[in-house]
Symmetry: C2
Subunit: 297 residues, 2 copies
Amino acid sequence: MDAGPELSTYLASLRLLIEERLKFDTELSGQCPQKLQEAIRYSLLAPGKRVRPCLALMACEACGGDIKSALPAASALEMIHCYSLIHDDLPAMDDDDLRRGRPTNHIQFGESTAILAGDGLLTLAFETLAKGISDPQVAIACVADLASAAGVEGMVGGQQADLEGEEIEEISLEHLESIHRRKTGRLLTAPLIMGGRIAGADLETLNNLKIYGESVGLAFQIADDLLDVVGDSRKMGKGVQKDADHGKATYPALLGLEESRKKANIIIEQACDAISGFGDRGNYLAALAKYTIERDH
Amino acid sequence: MDAGPELSTYLASLRLLIEERLKFDTELSGQCPQKLQEAIRYSLLAPGKRVRPCLALMACEACGGDIKSALPAASALEMIHCYSLIHDDLPAMDDDDLRRGRPTNHIQFGESTAILAGDGLLTLAFETLAKGISDPQVAIACVADLASAAGVEGMVGGQQADLEGEEIEEISLEHLESIHRRKTGRLLTAPLIMGGRIAGADLETLNNLKIYGESVGLAFQIADDLLDVVGDSRKMGKGVQKDADHGKATYPALLGLEESRKKANIIIEQACDAISGFGDRGNYLAALAKYTIERDH
């Protein structure tokens, strides 16, 4: 990931902590059937950008908290993200054979194990929060944050709306944004709120993190759509133009390439404004926001 | 449900509270796509025995707690049970078209919606606990209880082991019990512990409730196996002999009818012993334990 030398080094250091924690949290007892554990670790420990867990750690640190205290939340967030990918790839959903350049979970382990691996990861996410965050009040608030972001009014609802949207001939920009906000936006905002919460941030700070998260989430989606049109299939690890082939509504399709880029830039400015009060502590968050729309994969 | 006039009336009164709460907890915002909400309510509000939520309320009351304080836990438990049924019925899993005498969720709403309805219910269960239980310490302990019982070392792991077991020619009694303990036992024990926790029960009491739950769970499974052999298809709401047709290991197949009945009786005695210290407050729990093996559907 080329994110500028400083941000890049910082993110790499966060990822080391995250990988270690993900391994630790999936060292399950003999009560978990071996094949199921393998399937879970196959997807969860696959190389990935770890965007959501990184955001949680960064928000925690930006609010003056100890980065390690946010690791359970970081791990739980990646579990939720990972389960959603496993279920989204299923034949009845997006029917994908390839994910991050490797066979998808159901191709590797069979469909029933993939369904259960997803269910297991979703459940393990909440167990990880409950057992890993020491302050009960913070822990239960994080459970509420994560469930709300991942559930039927968030990510799961967004996926449903997305699948239903494929059947609609003309989709409006408003409808597209509402889908993205739920499908990907909420789970990019939750890490920031959870990380801030764990650091003991006040309500105003949490609200600024929320605005930052919503903006970065939307910009991230626009950038993803742009990469699907102009990206490099080798770097993306999946077929490009896949969305267009599926007839999915995208920003470039609705706004054009140039307008989409402009929109992404404005949104990233808003994200940086929201965290301007953090001063130097917010530098990495600001750099990440800018990187969101500059990345090439 | 014929459970003796007194127990029957008591359970009916609990069920009224539970139904009301389940309706309340699934009155979702417009952020949840309508079809998804329909699918969730179709399965969750379908007529059912509400065994797990009833156990939570009964344990709470047996420990001197206010029954209403256990309603969020009761609701969350039914959501977990319901999601597991939706996913278990999927074509890639048990491939069932009928559930409680009605088309299964994926037959009614399509496979992708059924997967998402299950994911949504699983997530909503934790949101319901987090938002519904007022004491953060009790709430987070309940999240841990439920996640542990429902996850890869509990119910999800049991379902995986069960599916793998179908491929094994000869299954031992020990292996069968280990599957049942995870697949159904843990989610019958969790309500008792959660209900007790909400009532403020001490560790010894929680442990007695655990023993009661494990025993009732096992007896319930043996009784279910027996009903599959000798039951009445109309009362059961599903085809009898279905397990035998699927080549699944059952207690009657491994122990014979008479030995299975004997085993169930001994286990129920153990369950009643565990709650003998509750005195009169434990009467309904004792009656329910006995009813578990006397029911005809």
